[in-house]
Amino acid sequence: MQGKSVDYEELVPGYEFPLSTYELSAPLVSKYLRAVDGTGDGFVPPLAITACAIAAMTGSLSLAPDTVAIHASQELEFLKLVPIGTVIECHITVAQKITRGKMSVLILELESFDQDRERVQWGKATVALPT
């Protein structure tokens, strides 16, 4: 993970989170498979890629203490097989920010690319936070 921390107020539509780059190494994938009771088949489970992307985003987001963010919905599209050892670059952009009463809803677009600059995954996450 890399990049600076961003305050919630700075998140406006079009905001791009700092790029995150990570290697989907054999130990990382095996740790993920252990956590989800999964079995390996030589390829990276697509949800492992999403998990890393979301963790990179939340890791660079600075929220007030005691704030609980709720993952409300998720869309994903898996575009190609990802072999173990692939280096992934993840782009996350704020698509929408909506405030409804005491809740704020963030809609984030996620795109992951491999080292050949090919898009391997696309997604959209909706996260609700108290304002």
Partner: protein
């Protein structure tokens, strides 16, 4: 893998027991250490009243069901739309069920449109949504 994909076919269900240990393992694997998942004293003071599993952990079980049914056609060409409706907590047993609702042809390629539901032991829906798997010719 499913040997024959047909409309109405149910997918083999996946059953998982949630424990705090599994949640902690998932936090370590994903790097998501949000205290609502891993800090029991923090979580106890929130409206949830205790720790909850990561939504993405619940979705990983959905993906496991789809991978069992469709193999690489899911890993490359799969699509998913999910809504998180309830939280999964330590002690819960989750059952993920899925069904092929339709087979669709687009530009000479077949797609299986499925629905899924992840319920806890009380019958409450934790996650629900739709998935699509592109079918290779071997599965059509």
């Amino acid at each position: 893998m499913l040997t024959e994909i047909q409309e109405g076919k149910t997918l083999d269900p996946v059953v998982k027991h949630i424990t705090q240990e599994k949640i902690n393992l998932y936090a370590e694997a994903s790097g998501d250490f949000n205290p609502i998942h891993v800090d029991e004293s923090f979580a106890a003071k929130t409206p949830f009243g205790g720790t909850i599993a990561h939504g993405m952990l619940n979705l990983a079980y959905v993906s496991e069901m789809m991978t069992s049914a469709f193999g690489q056609d899911w890993l490359s060409g799969g699509k998913l739309r999910a809504k998180f409706k309830e939280s999964a907590r330590p002690g819960d047993t989750l059952t993920i069920n899925g069904r092929v609702n339709s087979i669709e042809q687009k530009d000479g390629v077949s797609y299986a449109n499925c629905s899924f539901e992840c319920r806890n032991q009380k019958g409450e829906t934790v996650v629900a949504g739709e998935t699509t798997a592109r079918l290779s010719s071997a599965q059509e």
